[in-house]
């Protein structure tokens, strides 16, 4: 081989190499696939194309929301943006708005309080769908009765056990009705840790002895669910939802809010948070990848990953600032097509009109008694 031959060969190798560079799988990817263009050059603004919805969501699509505390914001944000956030369990007529909140109406689609671990929702759905017999355990403290699946919904507890179960029946009926009538079920996954009754297997919403109940080390056991368990729970939720509405679709999100505390043996709360969120995120990813009716919305990534340098957290590095919720929802709405004109509330005005109509009819009854009185001039002695 001459020098000239060698130069020719070298040129050929470089050309081939350049061709390969142009043909590798990364060359055809959009800017969102690269950290620099997708994140570094964009932060702290809205990340373009962060989420591409799998299914259509329009202002008329009925949407349900349930989940951990971060999910409380989602429903309201949907409503405020003119989307159809469904609340199949509304506060009773006449209950002032501030009081409705203390009775835990209006935070989620149902009055079930914060659902941190998926198995708690699975339990509710099993009861709603009639798949399992309702567990009758209740927590009695100083004459007040608390629901182990939602101890915070009745301030100070229910006055009787019957009231507690009647309220539970209301919620289960609302779940059946709401799921049957809705298109999208948004579930925000919170954590993997929970406390269980070792005898019955009932998983509680909170550890007994925290919000309510009393802790019994012989009876109450700690669980930190594995990937497989959480996956089975979320799959169970999907199956139960579809048993009530075969067409319903799920959007999974993971709450960016870290654990307040961990009960995992010898664990630091930071690593425990890492475990919980990783498992939940992985389960959401797997279900999203394997089911056309399951989508994943990346609220966790927006808030909790480092591009925004924790700026969306409060100073306790745990609570999400209101601006953080707004930022998350900007990503949600940016991905949706279709107009976002405000949709009038479907229930309240009609209810108010019905009440007014009823009272008007009632006034006619009373008016019969009083008609002559109103026609009269004021009573003589009063003048």
């Amino acid at each position: 081989m001459t020098l000239a031959d060698g130069a020719f060969f070298s040129r050929q190798v470089r050309a081939h190499s350049a061709l390969n560079q142009h043909m590798n799988p990364y060359t055809s990817l959009s800017s969102k696939a690269f950290w620099r263009t997708g994140v570094a050059d964009t932060a702290p603004d809205v990340f373009a194309d962060l989420w591409t919805p799998k299914f259509s969501i329009t202002p008329t699509t009925p949407i349900l929301t349930v989940g951990s505390c971060f999910a409380q914001h989602l429903g309201r944000a949907l409503r405020d943006a003119g989307y159809r956030w469904e609340i199949p369990e509304t506060a009773p007529y006449g209950l002032p708005e501030s009081a409705a909140a203390t009775f835990h109406y209006g935070y989620f689609s149902f009055r079930i309080g914060n659902v941190y671990t998926p198995v708690v929702l699975e339990t509710w759905l099993n009861w709603a769908a009639g798949q399992k017999t309702m567990d009758r355990e209740i927590w009695e403290v100083d004459g007040a009765f608390y629901d182990p699946l939602r101890p915070q919904v009745e301030p100070g507890g229910f006055e009787t056990a019957d009231e507690l179960f009647a309220a539970r029946d209301e919620t289960l009926a609302a779940m059946r009705r709401g799921i049957a009538d809705s298109d999208i079920f948004v579930l925000t996954l919170g954590l993997t840790e929970a406390w269980q009754n070792s005898a019955t297997g009932l998983t509680y919403a909170t550890c007994p002895g925290t919000i309510a109940g009393s802790f019994d080390p012989e009876l109450h056991v700690f669980r930190n669910f594995s990937f497989e368990k959480i996956r089975a729970q979320v799959r169970g939720i999907r199956t139960l939802l579809q048993s009530l509405n075969p067409d319903i679709k799920m959007i999974l999100t993971v709450s960016p809010v870290p654990l307040t505390a961990t009960a995992a043996s010898d664990q630091h709360v930071l690593t425990a948070t890492g475990y919980s969120k990783s498992v939940l995120r992985a389960v959401a990813g797997e279900l999203c990848a394997n089911h056309a009716d399951v989508d994943y919305f990346p609220s966790y990534e927006i808030v909790a990953l480092h591009p925004l340098k924790g700026a969306l957290f409060e100073s306790n590095l745990r609570s999400v600032r209101p601006a953080g919720v707004v930022h998350v929802m900007k990503h949600f709405f940016a991905a949706l097509d279709g107009g976002r004109s405000a949709v009038p509330d479907q229930s309240s005005p009609d209810m108010q009109a019905a009440v007014e109509q009823e009272l008007e009819a009632l006034d006619i009854v009373c008016e019969d008694e009083q008609l002559e009185k109103l026609q009269e001039p004021p009573d003589e002695p009063n003048t």
Binding site: Y93, G94, L95, F158, A166, M351, P381, N382
Partner: protein
């Protein structure tokens, strides 16, 4: 003072007992905030009518404004006279229950059973203006008696109805209003009005109920003896 039940009492008592002062009108005139109380006095006011009845046309609004003006005139004469007040005002149980029933019918998402705590909060909201009015009235009259109305509830409204009456009785008693409650004499074990005391309509009581009421009132107000005597005389008429 009060709604149609008060008017019926007045009619029933006549001619043996005539009320010199009265402040009566259909319950809707006392619906929502209907009064103001401050250093200038206690007044029945039309100020909140448009908020309470947003669908009123101009004529009906005017009629209600006139009615409240009349009621206020009557109230002022009562306050000047400084006489004891007998009142059914705030005994809006029927109205309250019907509103809830209508809300439930119109919205399937409304809960059908409420906890006691929840009902209490709802009642606190609904009844607060009545309680405020009674408090202001007591300050100025010193002697106020509340009459618990006839307990004519549909079976499905039992809890709500009894809660309402119980709430008003408790709260009014607490602030010093005398409560006259003839449910033990006129109701069954569920505190439901016995059919023998029902008027022909759906919410009022008949003359027999007012006889029992007047008999009870005579324990507080001797003037009612006249009605009691009349009732006895009627009962003693040989067949």
């Amino acid at each position: 003072m009060g709604d149609s039940h008060a008017t019926l009492l007045r009619k029933h008592a006549a001619p043996d007992l005539l009320f010199e002062w009265s402040v009566t009108a259909p319950a809707k005139h006392f619906f929502g905030k209907f009064h103001e109380a401050d250093e200038m006095g206690l007044r029945i006011t039309p100020d909140h009518l448009t908020a309470q009845f947003p669908n009123l046309d101009e004529n009906r609004l005017q009629a209600m404004q006139n009615a409240r003006a009349r009621l206020n005139d009557q109230l002022q004469t009562v306050l000047e006279a400084k006489v004891p007040v007998l009142s059914t005002l705030g005994g809006a149980t029927y109205r309250f229950c019907r509103a809830h029933a209508a809300a439930h019918r119109s919205d399937p998402n409304q809960p059908s059973k409420l906890s006691k705590k929840m009902i209490t909060v709802i009642l606190q909201e609904f009844c607060q203006h009545y309680l405020d009015f009674y408090e202001a009235l007591l300050e100025r009259c010193g002697n106020v008696t509340f009459i618990v109305g006839p307990s004519r509830y549909p079976p499905q409204q039992k809890d709500l109805w009894l809660h309402y009456d119980g709430f008003m009785i408790d709260r009014l008693s607490q602030i010093g209003v005398t409560v006259v409650d003839i449910r033990p004499e006129t109701c069954d074990a569920d505190l439901r009005l016995r059919s023998t005391y029902e008027a022909d309509d759906v919410l009022h009581a008949n003359a027999a109920w007012y006889d029992v009421l007047c008999d009870n009132l005579s324990m507080h107000f001797p003037a009612f003896d006249r009605i009691a005597k009349r009732t006895v005389a009627k009962d003693e008429v040989p067949e």
